[in-house]
């Protein structure tokens, strides 16, 4: 990592490890979507399908960075009674071995606990074993209090780098990021709308000088996409909407959780396999250290 200003953030060994050995598959699901018990099964299915890290969404009522798919997941989860406290219980109840990253909006982090500010939330997150955070409405400029709390409790703070992020801004973000950098493949909001593999290369080029792992997200929905993205240089792929779609369809059809879980596992496997193929193209077995 080549941050130029400030002290280096503390790095959580879990996330580092997840990216250490080949391409990381980082799926996202909203915790509690469409209900607590099913959601536990779904997250566990992702691990079986090959997840290296899992982003767990703690739903916020105003998800300004999400497309329609994840907005709907947020609504289902909130209607199912999800709260920050339940979210932490959810993490405790999960039976998975991969690192978990909490994806949520800053107000929930800020309000948690008896004092205002992010510290109580981070403390509790550390207790339940979370490895880090992604906070879509918290740019580097506003992140100091959360960064400090994360450092105190040894959690990573993942930042998003957008196609519009350049120059000084990029430096500022990269000096604060830890765990991995979330490379937003295209402008807009989350959602499995289009093949973005073509746009990825330029984004990764800008980040070439930074040695933090680069996980690319926004718009990856198939194994082929995953393959091309990783072949293009990504250290990992983040996939949300394509998986949430499966949850949504299952909820709508009223299918048993295990059926949906099976489908999620299968989709996860497809994506993971695609990532591995891409990695093979970029870094043939022979050349690996």
């Amino acid at each position: 990592m080549s941050g130029e200003s400030g002290s280096d953030p503390v790095r959580n060994p879990d996330l580092e490890a997840a990216f250490a050995d080949g391409p990381a598959f980082v799926p996202y699901l909203a915790a509690g979507d469409p209900d607590y018990e099913s959601s536990l099964e779904y997250v566990e299915a992702l691990e079986r399908g090959g997840a290296d890290v899992i982003e767990l969404g703690l739903p916020f009522s105003e998800p300004i960075a999400e497309g329609p798919t994840i907005q709907s997941a947020v609504v289902r989860s909130l209607e199912g009674g999800m709260t920050p406290e339940r979210f932490f219980e959810f993490v405790e109840d999960l039976d998975v071995d991969v690192p978990l990253v909490c994806m949520t909006y800053y107000n929930l982090i800020y309000q948690y606990g008896s004092e205002q500010g992010p510290r109580p939330f981070v403390e509790r997150a550390a207790e339940v074993g979370l490895s880090g955070f992604v906070v879509p409405d918290l740019p580097a400029e506003e992140a100091d209090p959360l960064r400090e709390a994360c450092d105190e409790f040894g959690l990573d703070l993942v930042f998003i780098v957008a196609p519009t992020t350049r120059g000084d801004r990029l430096e500022r973000i990269m000096s604060q990021v830890s765990g991995y950098v979330y490379v937003q493949a295209r402008l807009g909001v989350t959602g499995a709308q289009e093949d973005v593999s073509g746009q990825t290369e330029e984004s990764l080029d800008r980040l070439a000088d930074y040695d933090v792992p680069k996980a690319v997200g926004f718009g990856i929905k198939t194994g082929e996409h995953a393959e091309r993205i990783v072949a293009g240089g990504a250290d990992g792929i983040i996939v949300g909407s394509a998986l949430v779609d499966i949850v949504a369809e299952g909820a709508k059809a009223g299918e048993p959780a295990e059926t949906v879980a099976g489908r999620l596992e299968e989709k996860a496997r497809e994506l993971k396999q695609g990532a591995l193929r891409g990695y093979e193209q970029r870094v043939p077995q022979a050349e690996r250290t």
Partner: protein, 408 residues
């Protein structure tokens, strides 16, 4: 970009470069009048918007309350509300910045119609996001926006009201940020919006202060303005903030009650300044209607234009500093004031505006000898709501609604 602990820029990274670009443009064009931006803005406000608006002595209210009541007549601005001050400023700024497209959100439709007017005037393509429920409640405003050539995009998420429309507009902006400017409708959102919108709206108090000095030789003892997001409020207060003798009253929508139903996530009011807690929403840290977890509540008011769970961060700061009094008037008081002003002064106010007059009625004794009330908008848009809501109540000053039960 901060007002004490309030304000800031809590937006997705994809928007940050645009926010930085906007901040730069704000500083150069608005604060420094580069390329004569402010001159052109003032000139267009005058010729297209109809500024200055008058500050009128309200004879019958003055008699009623035994003190001198003056009205700042923003209802006479083109479009029927103060909203154009800001919309015109931002659309013009977008032009100076070389943007090719405008997006905006609207709740009651007043900001949307003002933005659509400004966009037509300046030949700028414009899309406006509006909750589906609000679209159904405010069809004349939807029609006006479309007449002005704007697209109106229905937002079907959530309850389909302003909160969701703002989120959806942010999503559009995040997608099209390179050629698009988001015309935020109030002194909310990430910096520089709260400062910039205040500066565009400050013409209200700049004029009123001067007009009142001409008429009375002095300053008012108090200034009243309704407060939802707070753009007319900050506009009416801005040039009086340094006048310590002038009491500033931000009149929020008390709705049906100040009590909240945390279980249902509903605050039956929009009194974020009076009852809200600090938090982060739509790009800024400010006072919010939220539950103890930090989830945003549904707010409620008889006046759709005040119906917002947040408030401008600068107002939050001024309230904490005891410079602005956060007060509120409930739905009943606002409706009564609507009828009172219509009958006594021949001015049919917006239901938003009526809240300020409701406070005047209830507390005139505490407001000193000279009271300035900002008439933020006219009430033509509210006639259907007034019929419905008046029928539910027994309001002395109201004409019989019998002939209008079916709507107008």
């Amino acid at each position: 970009g901060k007002f004490g602990e309030y304000g800031g820029q809590y937006v997705p990274e994809a928007l940050m470069p645009a926010i930085e670009e906007l901040t730069d443009a704000y500083e150069r064009y608005v604060l420094e009048n580069e390329d004569g931006f402010m001159d052109e803005f003032r000139s267009r406000l005058r010729d297209f918007g109809g500024r200055p608006t008058p500050t009128q002595h309200a004879e019958r209210l003055s008699e009623r309350y035994g003190r001198e009541v003056y009205l700042k007549r923003e209802d006479l601005l083109h479009g029927g509300a103060h909203k154009l001050n800001n919309a015109l400023g931002q659309v013009l700024l977008a032009k100076y910045m070389g943007k090719e497209r405008i997006v905006a959100e609207t709740g009651a439709g007043q900001h949307g119609t003002a933005t659509a007017m400004a966009a037509a005037h300046l030949d700028m393509p414009c899309e406006i996001y509006m909750g589906e429920r609000d679209i159904n409640r405010q069809r004349p405003n939807v029609f006006r926006m479309r007449l002005n050539g704007s697209a109106v995009n229905p937002v079907t998420t959530g309850r389909g009201t302003l909160k969701e429309a703002i989120s959806e507009t942010m999503r559009d902006w995040a997608t099209n940020v390179e050629d698009t400017h988001y015309v935020i409708g109030s002194v909310v959102g990430p910096h520089p919006f709260p400062s910039m919108v205040r500066d565009f709206q400050a013409v209200i108090s700049e004029e009123a202060r001067e007009q009142l000095r001409e008429k009375t030789g002095g300053l008012p003892d108090s200034v009243l303005a309704c407060a939802g997001g707070g753009s007319n409020t900050m506009g009416a207060f801005a040039n009086f903030v340094d006048d310590e003798s002038v009491g500033l009253y931000a009149v929020e929508a008390g709705g049906s009650t100040l009590e909240v139903d945390e279980e249902a996530g509903v605050a039956p009011n929009s009194a974020s300044l009076s009852t809200g807690d600090e938090g982060v929403l739509h790009g800024a840290r400010t006072k919010l209607l939220q539950d103890s977890d930090g989830q945003i509540m549904e707010s409620h008011s008889v006046s759709a234009g005040l119906d917002y769970a947040g408030v401008g961060p600068e107002l939050a700061r001024l309230v904490d500093d005891d410079r602005v009094n956060a007060v509120n008037v409930d739905d009943d008081g606002a409706l009564e004031a609507f009828h009172r002003l219509s009958q006594l002064e021949g001015i049919i106010p917006a239901l938003e505006t009526a809240h300020a007059f409701g406070y005047l009625e209830e507390h005139y004794e505490d407001l000193g000898e000279t009271v300035l009330v900002n008439v933020s908008g006219r009430g033509d848009k509210d006639l259907e709501t007034v019929i419905e809501e008046t029928e539910k109540r027994d309001i002395e000053a109201a004409p019989s609604m019998a002939a209008f039960s079916g709507g107008i």
